[in-house]
């Protein structure tokens, strides 16, 4: 019964939203807007539920004294303190902004920097692991793009900067991107139809 209701609601609301796009009736427009706004609210609560789940998992880990529970403790403390400051001081508070700038940004930026080194090393050893045509093309393309992205320190390679790189970006890349986007769009459309028809039930149930 529960699964049946969930499926019924999903299909009903989906059809209303779709019909609202195709039927220019104020009712459907209103319903559509309302349903979308409700989804915004649900999404917001979903964020809170995610945060709560994260908190529960780490609290359980701390309670059972599992391996690495110290990091879980640090996470929970950071969350609680930041949330407290946010509730109390507001997001525009310079103190809270300092917490963000001093912790969040460097940490994530460092991860991105490590990723850069790792990718560069992987590209260098790519031929050792896999030597084929596609690998050569891949590395050659990446080399050209990198070379034509910005002028070199000592000089600018006009062919690369003004011909090759722009052509690579505008022609092959865009072509691939367009195909990718079309595929994504079609997949999204099909997924929506399956949900509207009840074939897929990501919300649970058979």
């Amino acid at each position: 019964m529960k699964r049946l209701l969930a499926t019924a609601f999903a299909i009903a609301f989906g059809l209303i939203v779709v019909l609202g796009y195709f039927i220019p009736l104020p009712l459907f427009a209103y319903l559509r807007q309302e349903i979308i706004l409700w989804s915004i609210i649900l999404a917001a609560f979903g964020v809170l539920v995610g945060v709560a789940n994260l908190l529960a998992v780490h609290l359980e880990k701390i309670r059972r004294r599992q391996s690495g529970y110290i990091y879980s403790l640090l996470l929970v403390l950071s969350l609680v303190i930041t949330a407290a400051f946010g509730f109390l001081l507001g997001p525009q508070n310079p103190g809270l902004r300092q917490a963000v700038e001093a912790v969040i940004v460097p940490v994530e930026a460092s991860l991105m920097a490590i990723l850069t080194i790792t990718l560069l090393y992987a590209c260098i050893r790519l031929f050792r692991r896999r030597l084929d045509v596609m690998t050569v093309i891949f590395l050659a393309t990446a080399w050209l793009i990198l070379l034509g992205t910005a002028p070199l320190p000592f000089a600018e390679i006009g062919v690369l900067n003004y011909l090759l790189r722009p052509w690579l970006i505008h022609v092959p890349a865009v072509a691939g991107a367009r195909g990718l986007l079309i595929g994504i769009a079609l997949g999204t459309l099909l997924t929506g139809l399956r949900i509207l028809l009840g074939a897929d039930r990501p919300y649970g149930g058979k």
């Binding site: 915004i40 525009q92 902004r97 969040i104 940004v105 940490v107 080194i117 050893r125 992205t149 910005a150």
Partner: protein, 914 residues
Amino acid sequence: MAEQRCPMCGKPNPEDLEVCQYCQARLKPLTAPLGETIRPGDEPTKKSTAELERVLPEWLRKARNADEDEVDQPPPTGELPLGGAPPSSLPGQSAQPHPETSDLLSGLTSQVNDEEDEIPEWLANLRGSAPASEKTEPEAELPDWISDVSAEADSEIPLPFLGKPEELSAGSGPEEPLFSTAEEEQSDWLSELKTEAALSGLEADTGAEDAAHLPLGSELPDWLGGLGAEGPAAGETPAAPALEGELPDWLGGLGAEGPAAGETPAAPALEGELPAWLGGLGAEGPAAGETPAAPALEGELPDWLGAEGPAAEETPAAPALEGELPDWLGGLGAEGPAAEETPAAPALEGELPDWLGGLGAEGPAAEETPAAPALEGELPDWLGGLGAEGPAAEETPAAPALEGELPDWLAAAVGELPSAEAGSSQTELPDWLSGPQPEGAVVPGDEIQPPSPAEPQEIPDWLTSLPTAETPVTESPSPFADLVPPAEMPPPAFVEEPALDEMEAAFSAGVPDWLASVAPEKSQAQAEDSAFVDEAAIAPGSLPSWVQAMRPVEAVVSEAGTDAAGEDMVTEGPLAGLRNVLPAGPVFVPTRKPQAFGLKLQAEEEQQANAILLQKMVEAESEPKPLTSQPLLLSERVLRWVLSVLLLLLVGLPLLARKPFTPQSSLFPNETLATVQVVNALPENAPVLLVFDYDAGLSGELEATAAPLVDHLMLRGARLVIVATKPNGTLLAERFLARTQSQHHYQAGVHYINLGYLPGGSAGIAGFAQNPDGAMPSVWQGQSVWQMPVLQGVKRLSDFEAVAVLSDNAEGAQAWVEQTVSWLEGKPLLLAVSAQVEPVLRPYVDAGQVKGLVGGLAGGSAYETVNGRPGLAYHYRDSLSMGLFVSVIALALGAGWSLLSAWRSRREQKAFEV
């Protein structure tokens, strides 16, 4: 020390041993030595009845012991307990019943102490001949039943196994003794026998010269004939009736028949009482002219029956016979035969078992004729006839009388037996009667001559099948043909071998006269040329099937082969006389040498090589391999560290320089120029939606990329409405404005407003696009932001003059493009994205949905150059260039090196494979 051979395994053992030390078989028989044989005319050998004590069953022993207490008590008149005959009925004694004869085997007890304790009294009385005077006492201890039988010699004593049931019932009830006195009880069966004997025509079949001899007489075995001979001794006529008066009828008739020479009428009378088979037995013995035959007959009888047959002149044989008989039978034999007993009697008694040896011993003594009648007066008719056979030559009529009373089956058997006159009537004793033969005796080879049928309708087949000396064995099927000779018979399962030996000794100790007459003379002969070997003598069909199955198959046996002719025949043990018998374990020698097979595996060279290879492989698996320790410094780690150092140095050092050394590109991207144009076209103080859709990790690139755009917007006086689609977007927006746009001094709530985080992803964007104030009902200092001057005139998305999206991922940018374009109503949508997503979003730019695109540091640098306002991009241009340059160089070098290494490894692998 003298040695004796074991009859089982054949190994020598010391003389003093009683049990073989190898196979644990008994070396010395308990009853009688196997090697000894009783021959007609032999003196009965003395035996100690004490030896038989062990053979006797327990109940019998107890009975004997109980009866010993009643020795002083005279037996009741008219009743003959089963115990035995009164001692007074013994030959040579008065007819007074002996107090110790109440027990059948009481004679055994008396004879234990008797000096000559060899033949029981009752048996001696049965023989009809008076034993020696010194033997009278022990001989007086005849069992009552025998004494009664002797007393009833003239009466019809029904033989319990021959009479009719109603006849038997008259004679003996459940509480009455089995045998009644002759005077009081004359069973119908015995009268029948007499009648039968008279009517059987045995007289005509016997062919006896003496008309007094019934035909059955010639057929009677000696032991029966001797009984008849014993009884009717001339001087014992009084005793015979007396004896017979005491004995049951069937025994009295025997006693009456045998001993009295003058009782030739008695003999016929006796024989008329006795069944035909018994009458013939009596007729056989007592003929005077048959005395040679008696010994001869007795010589044919089995040992245990042979003692009955001998004539009076065989008195010397009596002692010999008695010596071989068991004690309880020895007395009988000792009683009967006198010292003048013919040698035949001893010889016969030597063959008879003890209990019957007395019969033979009794018979042949002429001077013991008084005892014989006395004995026979006690003995039943069938036994009296046996006594009558031996002792008295003039007792020939007793034989016919006896024969006339013998049952048909026995009469037939006896009739087939060689007649006393024939002399040559060496009827062969059946093998089972002949008993174990001494070494060299051919028991299996004995031809069992079936007795001539006196009354075919009355004589059973087994008796008729007994071979006679006159008739060849093959003429008629012998009733005993189915029987396996004792030497052939497998030992009974319930009898231990020593006991078996004892039984064999017991049975071989004496042979009745009638059986002695049946048994061929060569029952004592060697077995080499015996009829058993001759297949014609014993037809396979005559043997029972189960016996046939037990016989060794000649085909197999012959296949096994015999090394020598003499080794085929087994000369000792229970299988003596058999040929082609598998030898015992210790003696067994395999006849065939087992085929030798090589244990070496036959394998080819290739198989051996493969086996060796496999063995090496298996051994290699078990060998420990040294662990390869990894070096602390690996090439991979070195390369990573080198790259990290280079990048850090080359990217960080230009930041320290005041002036960039990287030349500015003269080529500006079109999308960047378009963005500049869009912003330039915005009216002043236009509300612009600024969307922050990137994470903190790429905030450095995005800040450098979007800073010139926002700066240009601020220069245009745009009112910025900030919306974040990431949880950290709000804070990043604040950081962005503070780090890059501080020169503009934009104030929150006045110049710009930060609406906050817009959740829901695409749905939220769509909701915001449709109803901005409904999707973001933010409050700024207690006031709805949509009421603030910053958002004055903005109710829908299309009220914004431009929408600028700052994103580091393609999905977010796509979502904004896809969800807002239809609601912007021609308002420009600008994108400031990371260099990694620029190619993905360029189609939107090419499609016209996105009006301007600033991608990466290069785009930001170009936008700054075009706008003429250097910013972060200008400062990051050298670091960017150096970073790109190192990356390019590293990629080139690394790829080249990897390529070369891969090529070399492949080359080496190919060379190895080759």
